[in-house]
């Protein structure tokens, strides 16, 4: 079956055959647009497997609208232009009804013009820098106010940090997040001199000087905290250097926004106990649904595999989509989009997520301390925080808001009371 399907798909894509596959009529197609090769395959392959697991489970329950779901998996190979190409292929050649995919912001920005042109539907599961709200995208990951701001508050309130080192990989998410945080911290009375910012390339491995710089920040008697938006592999070298320098979480706490269970499985966490991460989900969350989810994942993928935050985002997003399709009675994008707003679904960590009119979720924010087994000990959990598409802490964005329900606009200027643009900013 698989053999036949992929042959047909291949033939179709190459345009040498124009007959539609007969089987396509009675299934609902779901596009999975995650890199299976290249640099991002590390993170994204897991999400592809998550989607396949969720789709199988739903099919076992009888599918949606009485039809079976069919996953169409493509590989954009961590190549950003290829994301646009594959998205176009999914929408026009494969005729998928919805897509789940992308990880990096640049891949999302690459796909945006295509799905807006062809009126597709994308569920984006990763924490991101905000400053965007597209009619055709539902953002199930955290906006900065659902991850960065609460974590910074935790530093300020609970740990009494007075001096901040914002370390990040040099790309959009850290840049924008750090920008927002700088502005937020200044609003909280932190002087500009007390904010140290550093950007490193992807996969950076030589951390000794940066760690020494951070230690030296303590010289003026203020408590130093590190907010890390370091991405992927580079974290391994960073944490190794941190451990070698003997920096304990009590002296200089580090809170990371891109380090989850998956990333920690690449290193020995014995020396990192007590450092922090902020997410909307940790595998260690105690709830029955989570136990089931983790068990199902391990049963499918093997015992050593872990679950993480973007997986939960897909879990919520997928189930909301299923419910919205059932509510709308069709998979037609506009109807489903309208039905999505206001959808509720239980979180794996307890409580209920709600899809807001700005296409972001209201989700709880969790802060966890790293334990020596590579898991997180949840030490703080908020109630549901509504995701904010446009941050309140940058002057240009503070006046903007997104409301697809009443205003029908993702970039609405509340000062001039006009819609800046219907299509999004890419």
């Amino acid at each position: 079956m698989n053999y036949l399907k992929s042959t047909l798909a291949g033939a179709l894509a190459l345009g040498t055959l124009s007959l539609p596959a007969a089987a396509a009529e009675d299934t609902i197609k779901i596009g999975v647009l995650h890199s299976l090769s290249g640099t991002m395959a590390i993170s994204e392959t897991t999400l592809k497997d998550t989607m396949l697991m969720l789709i199988d489970e739903q099919n076992a329950k009888g599918g949606v609208l009485g039809k079976q779901l069919e996953a169409v998996v493509v590989d954009p190979a961590s190549d950003w232009p290829l994301f646009a190409e594959k998205a176009r292929e999914l929408l026009t050649v494969q005729d998928v009804d919805v897509m789940f995919g992308c990880w990096t912001s640049v891949s999302r920005k690459s796909v945006l013009p295509v799905i807006e042109e062809l009126n597709g539907l994308l569920f984006y599961p990763v924490q991101y820098e905000g400053e965007e709200s597209s009619k055709n995208v539902f953002y199930t990951g955290a906006a900065p106010n659902q991850q960065a701001i609460p974590a910074t508050d935790y530093f300020l309130e609970e740990l009494g940090v007075e001096k901040f080192a914002l370390l990040g990989t040099d790309y959009v998410y850290p840049r924008t997040t750090n920008n927002i945080l700088e502005s937020y911290l200044k609003g909280k009375g932190i002087a500009e001199d007390d904010i140290f910012v550093n950007y490193t390339p992807f996969g950076h491995s030589d951390w000794s000087k940066i760690v020494a710089d951070v230690v030296a920040l303590g010289a003026d008697g203020k408590k130093v905290g590190v907010i890390s938006t370091i991405n992927g592999d580079a974290n391994i070298g960073f944490y190794k250097e941190l451990a070698a320098a003997g920096i304990s979480a009590d002296d200089i706490p580090v809170v990371a926004f891109s380090v989850g269970e998956e990333e920690l499985s690449g290193l020995d966490t014995a020396n990192l106990v007590g450092h922090l991460a902020a997410w909307n989900y940790f595998q260690s969350a105690e709830s029955e649904m989570n136990d089931e989810f983790v068990a199902a994942w391990k049963a499918k993928m093997g015992d050593e595999r872990v679950t993480n935050d973007p997986m939960e985002a897909h879990f919520i997003g997928f189930n909301m989509w299923v419910n919205a399709v059932e509510a709308a009675g069709t998979t037609e994008v506009d109807a489903v989009s309208a039905a999505m707003i206001g959808q509720e679904y239980p979180n794996l960590t307890g409580g209920t997520s709600v899809m807001l009119p700005n296409h972001h979720l209201a989700k709880p924010v969790l802060i966890g301390e790293i334990q020596d087994d590579g898991q997180f000990d949840i030490i703080s959990q908020t109630t549901e925080v509504p995701g904010d598409a446009w941050t309140d802490f940058l002057p240009e964005s503070a006046v903007l808001k997104s409301d697809w329900k009443d205003l029908g606009c993702g970039m609405y200027n509340t000062e001039t009371e006009s819609c800046v643009q219907i299509k999004s900013n890419y």
Binding site: S6, V74, A84, V93, K109, D170, V172, Y199, N425
Partner: protein
């Protein structure tokens, strides 16, 4: 004169004829202008492939004919893309901003419009001011000039420095690789003013052409790419024929001898280096509006190495070889990585082509280099029997190959 030029190069007419046929076929099958047999996304893929063929011709000129193995031509390709991308982004954003500011209570000043465009474009990367490199972004003419001027000037400066100090062979290859790496790293920085890792996006949406569907835009770009490829082929054929061509081939085979004969080797090399950089820039400027996004990862050193591989597989030292190599390898590569090739069950293990394609590709380079140094183009020689007479003993390659050959005979 022209007649004789074409007569001496029958491959030009054949190539142009095939290109025209191909363009016509695609036009007739496309969604916009024909039967809709092939999808818009595939038209875009084909258009992009033509651009890759174009840069492959440039690579063949510089490597196959002149013997400079440049591992940095994708830097020029990317720069061309960036130059056109700047205008596309600026103009599209300007239209959005002007529509939106028209609703304001008082009309905006020119400065306010520019500021608003700036914060739209750079808001993504946490900035709002226009860097100096965007000085001409509001003018299409200027940016079109820059498409060839920026790669040209970079190639001129770099080439002048490198050729003047007689950096040759492998050293030059590593140096060009360093150049493209430095450029990629520079562009990766947000401070470079070209939106860092995000690059320039939404390039497929032509300003003021919102009403025109992508199926039409894609065929326009396909035509433009085919035209550019055809013209460049003629230009390249013209360059390599005649005396100029003999000199650069002489430089490839033995640089010192050509120098002793009184030719300005540096001048010839520089000319080829600069003209190919400009062709690459044009290829990039046509490629990225079809791809939709350009970012620094595009000009990472690996891309330029692939370019060399395409040319090697297609066959160096013959222009159609480069075109064949680029088209075949990139299309086959798309096909394999697209996950559309059936898995190959091998008893206990299922061979997934998504996983193993790279291995196959890598090993095929090795095999081609070892056993078919003339590449696919060599097959054409076999077909029509125009195989060049065997002038020297061993199948030794360009550059220091001839030196080694001399040694072998001694």
């Amino acid at each position: 004169m022209k007649n004789s030029f074409l007569m001496r190069n029958p491959s030009i007419l054949i190539f142009l004829g095939l290109l025209a046929l191909f363009t016509l076929a695609v036009t007739l099958m496309s969604e916009a202008t024909g039967a809709g047999l092939i999808s818009t996304s595939f038209v875009k893929t084909l258009g992009k492939t033509l651009c890759l063929c174009l840069i492959a011709i440039a690579m063949d000129l510089v490597w196959g004919y002149t013997g400079i193995l440049s591992l940095g031509h994708f830097a020029f390709f990317g720069l061309g893309g960036y130059m056109i991308g700047m205008w596309l982004m600026y103009e599209r954003t300007r239209q959005i901003v002007e529509t939106s500011l028209a609703n304001a209570e008082i009309p905006p000043t020119a400065q306010e419009v520019v500021d608003a465009i700036g914060s739209q474009i750079f808001g993504v990367v946490g900035s709002s001011d226009f860097p100096a490199v965007w000085a001409f972004a509001d003018s299409l003419t200027m940016q079109l000039v820059l498409v060839v001027a920026v790669p040209g000037v970079l190639a001129l400066v770099f080439g002048w420095l490198a050729f003047r100090s007689r950096v040759t062979g492998v050293y030059l290859s590593i140096l060009t690789q360093a150049m493209t790496l430095a450029l990629a790293l520079y562009l990766f920085q947000n401070d470079s003013g070209l939106r860092g890792n995000n690059g320039l996006s939404g390039l497929q949406n032509l300003p003021g052409a919102d009403a025109i569907p992508q199926s039409v835009v894609s065929i326009w770009f396909f035509w433009a790419s085919a035209l550019a490829l055809g013209l460049s082929y003629i230009l390249a054929a013209f360059i390599v024929s005649g005396k100029f061509g003999s000199v650069i081939r002489g430089i490839r085979d033995d640089e010192a001898r050509v120098r002793f004969l009184g030719y300005s080797v540096e001048g010839y090399k520089l000319f080829i280096f600069v003209i190919t950089a400009m062709i690459s820039g044009i290829a990039g400027a046509l490629y990225y509006p079809q791809a939709g996004i350009i970012n620094p990862a595009e000009i990472a050193p690996i891309a330029s190495i692939y370019l060399a591989v395409w040319v090697a597989i297609g066959g160096r030292g013959r222009l159609y070889g480069a075109v064949i190599g680029a088209a075949v390898v990139s299309l086959v590569s798309t096909w394999f990585t697209g996950g559309q090739v059936p898995d190959l069950p091998l008893g206990g293990y299922t061979l997934k082509w998504v996983d193993w394609w790279q291995v196959l590709l890598g090993l095929s380079f090795v095999l081609v280099t070892l056993f078919a140094p003339k590449g696919i183009g060599g097959l054409i020689d076999l077909l029509d029997g125009i195989r060049s007479p065997n002038r020297h003993g061993a199948a030794l390659g360009p550059d220091s190959g001839s030196l080694q050959e001399r040694e072998a005979r001694e």
